[in-house]
Amino acid sequence: MKLRQKKTMTAYLFLIVPLIFFIFVRFFPTIYAFWLSFTDWNIISPKMNFVGFDNFRALFADSVFMKSLWNTFKYVLYGVPLVLVLSFAISLLLNNIRKGQAFYRLIYVMPYITPLVAVSWVWRWMYQRPPVGVINNLFSFVGIPTQRFLFSMDQALIAIVVTTVWVNLGYCIVIFLAGLQTIPKEYLEASKIDGANRWQVLTKITVPLLNPVILFLVVTQSILFLRIFTQVYNMTDQGSGGPLNSTKPLVLYIYQKAFLSFEMGSASSATVVLFGIILLITLLQFRLLKRRVQY
């Protein structure tokens, strides 16, 4: 055996371990969930009957499911642009300062490394009405009428988006900063010599060169918002996704179906739908944003 062959063999040998892991821990349950989505399994019954597409038909006839589906899109539509724009702006600022950059970076990353359940509960308390809610007390102090936030049909979802953006901001900033620092200084200097203003530098050089970073963040943040659960579960009354399902995302719907109503079959169907959506959106984003820029 040649040395080269031997090296390849060794590499494959090591790759087998994660492969086995993926097959049994990732792929097998996924495929099993696909199978479950065509059954009426109720989690405690040994019986598992094949029901065809009945679960899917029932799902799309269920107004709560449709509401959760729409809510999930709302989380993505509000959350992803907000977190990207904010983190990009902050990282541009941070990129300009030399002193204390590490300190600021640390501050912004703090929420990201804090357990999400703790974050959710702290925000839940901050959103309370008087006498305990910090935000409402502040409103009261400056004379703004108090808001119902998590108990309002119109504000609850946005309140949760704000918390989530606050959490994810640090991570996005770090990635953006890393991206910004890979942009060759020569390009920036050359453009300045050619008389480009700041806006032109930003739109013609920085953003195009950051394209792979933006793609990465759009994809990962979209998936994150599509799978939102912990915040909603911890910030709404009894984890219900209320008031009146106005904050309930798909994953919470799935959880409630599976582990509170024990309808594993229809929960699996909803999972398959979510899987399809994530797959579709991710492919779409790859297609739209995958443009290699080279100067």
């Binding site: 405690i44 019954s45 040994p46 019986k47 839940r124 309370q128 009405r129 509170l260």
Partner: protein, 413 residues
């Protein structure tokens, strides 16, 4: 020499088989420290009385309990005796998990003699009984004596009727300059015990019944005062502004931090409230209305799974019976603080200022036949939310009835 050795070996072998002949059953319950310690003590006593039976006691965190039980069954490694919420019985039975308690041992007379009247129907599914409770819970009105005094009310006199309750609640509510509630008169938390109060107490007090006698039909929209029940409840929030769902996050926090003067909660809260320093409170029977008293009772019960057959079934029956004996119930009240399910034993505690009001409530209590407790709680939470968000109580009540009927139909189909 050889013969003695042979006899010795035979003796050892015989002893070994004898000790192996012990019947071993497995008991599952969720993790709650005082319950576990008490059950350990109970098992010790049970094994002393039944030397041929060995009980293995297994616990899981409450959050994972259903999932663990659920996962173990298809795998065939489940328990012989399982502790479950009575509201889960229909689901466990239709899933082929529980076996009925033998009628000769657990007759109607046995239930009448040993348990409060709501227990029998609570553990019954399609004519068969499936489980026995150790202890039960009911609701009571809990009031803060210091806040009563501050509002100029007699701290020893709780409201006795709904009208009094409303009047008191109004007096006890405190607002800031901007009109925000800073002290609630009465907690309004449908997601807590509020939904039980509406379903089993208010509906009946307004002349209705929650469900048909076979539990297949929603009746509260067809009987009694209908939507007036919801109007009564939500008027307190929308019109009288004595509190709202989520005030101070939840009812328990509001009451324990002395920001709510009255609350309606279960006997399982006794321990929590006792541990709050400086909280000067007392318990009373739920206020009556139109001369009607009602209460909601619930309980965890011990059922026998299909795993138990032959000797293990015999042992399981003995164990379930023992768990509901007066000896265990008394121990349970002392250690865990839950109410005995046996009226004769309960009578000993009627004058107790803490347990008395709860126990008296058990006499006229109803245990709701839940087919999906979370979903059935949700429809009531939603109905209240709808009125807060501008729906009329009539519309919200009608929608609540049809949504709950869907939940019931799904189960019974």
């Amino acid at each position: 020499m050889k013969r003695t050795l042979l006899v010795l070996v035979l003796c050892v072998a015989l002893l070994a088989t004898l000790s192996f002949a012990k019947t071993k059953i497995v008991y599952w319950q969720y993790y709650y420290e005082t319950k576990i310690k008490t059950v350990d003590q109970v098992i010790e006593e049970f094994e002393r009385l039944n030397p041929d039976i060995e009980v293995e006691h297994v616990n899981f965190p409450y959050e994972n309990y259903n999932q663990k039980v659920a996962a173990s069954v298809p795998a065939g490694i489940g328990p012989d005796v399982v502790n479950l919420f009575y509201g889960w019985i229909p689901k466990y039975v239709t899933s082929g998990y529980l076996q009925p308690l033998p009628e000769d041992e657990f007759s109607k007379a046995y239930f009448a003699e040993n348990f409060f009247p709501f227990v029998g129907p609570g553990v019954n599914f399609e004519g068969k009984s499936y489980a026995l409770p150790i202890a039960v819970r009911s609701l009571s009105l809990i009031w803060n004596k210091d806040l009563f005094k501050a509002a100029g009310l007699d701290p020893e006199k709780p409201p006795l009727t709904l009208n009094e309750l409303v009047a008191y609640a109004k007096k006890l509510t405190v607002y800031d300059r901007a009109g925000n509630i800073v002290q609630a008169g009465l907690t309004m938390q449908p997601s807590g015990q509020g939904h039980q109060w509406i379903r089993e107490v208010l509906i009946r007090q307004f002349g209705g019944v929650p469900y048909s006698s076979d539990n297949k039909m929603v009746m509260y929209d067809k009987t009694g005062a209908g939507a007036d029940v919801l109007k009564f409840y939500t008027d307190l929030i929308v019109e009288d502004k004595i509190s709202y769902p989520g005030f101070m996050n939840d009812d328990v926090t509001a009451f324990s931090s002395q920001k709510a003067a009255m609350t309606i909660d279960g006997s399982f809260r006794i321990g929590t409230l006792r541990n709050v320093k400086g909280l000067n409170f007392a318990f009373a029977e739920l206020p009556s209305h139109n001369g009607v008293k009602s209460n909601f009772a619930s309980f965890w019960a011990n059922g026998i799974t299909k795993n138990a057959t032959g000797d293990r079934l015999v042992a399981a029956i003995k164990f379930v019976k023992f768990l509901s004996s007066e000896y265990v119930m008394d121990l349970w009240l002392k250690n865990v603080g839950e109410l005995p399910a046996n009226p004769a034993l309960a009578a000993n505690y009627y004058d107790d200022p803490t347990y008395g009001p709860f126990l008296k409530g058990l006499e006229y209590a109803h245990a709701t036949f839940f087919v999906d407790e979370t979903a059935q709680r949700q429809v009531i939470m939603d109905a209240v939310d709808k009125v807060i968000n501008g729906y009329s109580p009539e519309t919200a009540w009608k929608e609540m009835a049809s949504e709950e009927q869907v939940v019931l139909d799904k189960f019974w189909k």
